[in-house]
Assembly symmetry: C2
Homo-oligomer: 476 residues x 2
Amino acid sequence: MYGVILAGGSGTRFWPVSREQSPKQLQKFVGSGTMIQNTAQRLLPLVPIEKMYVGTHHQQALETIRQLNPLKFSPDHLLAEPCSRNTAAAIGLMARMIADKDADAVMAVFPADHVVTNSESFIKVLQKAKSLAQKDFLVTLGIPPTRPETGFGYLKQGAEINGFQDTYHVEQFVEKPDVSTAQKYLELGTYFWNCGVFVWKATTLLEELQKHAPDIHSQLSTLTGCLQSSKGKLAYLELDENGCEIFSSLPNISIDYAVMEKSSKVILVPADIGWSDVGAWNALDDVSEKDSTGNILTGNVLARDCNNSIIHGQNRLVAVLGLNDTVVVDTPDALLVCAKDKSQDVKKLVESINEKGHSEGKLHATVKKPWGSYTILDSGPDFLLKRIEVLSGEALSLQSHQHRSEHWTVASGSAKVDRNEETFHLKVNESITIPKNAKHRLANTGSELLIIFELQFGNLLDENDIMRYEDHYGRA
Amino acid sequence: MYGVILAGGSGTRFWPVSREQSPKQLQKFVGSGTMIQNTAQRLLPLVPIEKMYVGTHHQQALETIRQLNPLKFSPDHLLAEPCSRNTAAAIGLMARMIADKDADAVMAVFPADHVVTNSESFIKVLQKAKSLAQKDFLVTLGIPPTRPETGFGYLKQGAEINGFQDTYHVEQFVEKPDVSTAQKYLELGTYFWNCGVFVWKATTLLEELQKHAPDIHSQLSTLTGCLQSSKGKLAYLELDENGCEIFSSLPNISIDYAVMEKSSKVILVPADIGWSDVGAWNALDDVSEKDSTGNILTGNVLARDCNNSIIHGQNRLVAVLGLNDTVVVDTPDALLVCAKDKSQDVKKLVESINEKGHSEGKLHATVKKPWGSYTILDSGPDFLLKRIEVLSGEALSLQSHQHRSEHWTVASGSAKVDRNEETFHLKVNESITIPKNAKHRLANTGSELLIIFELQFGNLLDENDIMRYEDHYGRA
């Protein structure tokens, strides 16, 4: 079975841990890994890593590959989307790619940022779904509701499929209900949450796309012809200029709307698997371990007289006292304190933050780059201090700055520095000055992580004061 | 009139803004300055700065002087106590010093960390108290209670003093009452809060000390003989070794207990002056401006749907959502989130923090030193990065380290660096390496603040790995 993980989330509801540049699926909330690591790990019993594909926004491509690297995920199984076109386009393109490779392939589609607490049941349900998919059904998993949830779409169970126990036609796809309707669904027991997990033969999906969304289907073959390898060591799949244009012009619709609500091949397999979409901070209550007074404490936290609160710290000391049903989330550059029942409104809060022009809505203090990351540690009127981490084998672009000089000191690892015509090899405790306008490049040619501290001087200290002459990642 | 400001607070209730090394009176909560700056400023209409004295713990001496420097406070009017012996010893010693200088002196005593919102009434009350003090009374200000407070001692109003309107004998000093007694006091209108402001002739106080606390009084002349100037540019008064020993052996009692509760000369002047002892975070409600939904917001704060909350931020973005009656206090290295009605328990929380061995209970991220301060910005297994600020004209000790080398880069100002036999003058963007075991000294000989970044390397990076050969502040 092939697996397709859709990692397109924006993650504003988990601000400040998730940010636009580093959304929810790349963060760690529950279990041993990040959400996408846990998602891939969960599938391994059924889907070997060689048959796993990931679709994500090109901004997150490298970080996603690096997170899946320990599972031996192949970088060229990642498809970087130039923009978000919802699930229909992404799934269609993946189905085309997989069908071109293996005409009989059964593919399963998973959101990257959900939690399943009962992995064993999950695998069993997927095995059943696989055998149904081989009979040309479009299988969707239905989660038995545990509360009158108004935030999800529902699947109404229809007649049982002949010859298949506990497997049903879908009588209706129901939009998010109001609370009394949701309560009724909960009591009836014949409505299920639509969790976005689908299993089908790639060819079946393509046929149904052709029937119900021909405007998408008609472009898929052209698009696979536009796929190319990205620049850089971790080369992933991206669309060329023509492909980007076509992809961007596809309708921005979900696979539910494009196919599932229309196709007669859709069937429902109930899946009691401990699923949660972990839609906001308060959803951690459903999937995390709690202390004796109902708190979920992570990081360097000291709690006294607190109940049913979620305290998500990192390195700083977070001391909490007398809190009830409160969420506290601490990150190096931004802090959230929120009544738990207002968790859904964090999205609006982030909108306000962005409207006010604060970068904290979009970027973390540590800004990821193709070659590693940087963190601003301190600044003054005419200086700026950064910690720069360069991954083994990576290099910044060959560049120069008009308005600043830089002083670098190696704190860990070893650096190769090009400065105009010269090349230097710096070890720990060695430093170098880069004057204004000097062409320079910093590279980590060693096997360890390179950490340098960069002190910038100048009257204009701006990320945009950078002239790139050459770049391993196509940014020149 | 002479003024004595007692600045001995430990400030655990205002953690994490106040810490053992930098207590409440040195922090800014209300108004334009820190609490001790506001206290001194408030007295200036009656007490010229040349007649102002400050008693504090020696750890806070330099920072206190630096904070009062803009008011032209004379460093040698600060008496640094070797240990805290409560108010009787400190006040007695101050009274002795002042009486030796001016036998007729009237002195007024003030806690450094209280707030008075009606300065005009305050000055009027003090003028009245001064004229009463000249008639050999021990005058204490009584605050008309505004709530059934159980955290203060009360003064019970006695008979009116002949010939003085609204001035009373004190019938009784009452210990902190229970809530029903406090409610009764509030209704009766004849009980006042004891706010710790006293006015008397220095000689009157000394006579009463002799009568009621002869063990303290008998040592005062010896102690004034033990006073000496501290080392360093901002020379304050301290006790020599003998004096420290005597001072430490004095009874650890308050002036209330030693004299006021026993003396027949004590009188009460009601003082409706908008006083608050600002005893804990929730007390800011009484003295700070609020927004339309009752919040007190300080720093880089974004609040949505919050009511009656105190959000005290600094530079980091603090986003709060749906909070009611909650206190959020953000500092660079520690965060407090607390139900407002649990504010008094912050003290216990700090005890837990100290018990667990966290330095955040005692030290700020920025650690004050006699020459300026340092802040740890980053660290790794064998490196440590510090921002070091050296005040104009100050210098670190001549020192060496056994286990680390250091790399310094000047970010602002100019530095004089001694390294073994050589001397270097470094400007912005210049750097120098200090090898292990090299004797070195960093000084700011310029007129601006000197900021350097120090990157330490070694397998043992410890504040204690320092051999001092010479020090301007007597630490060698």
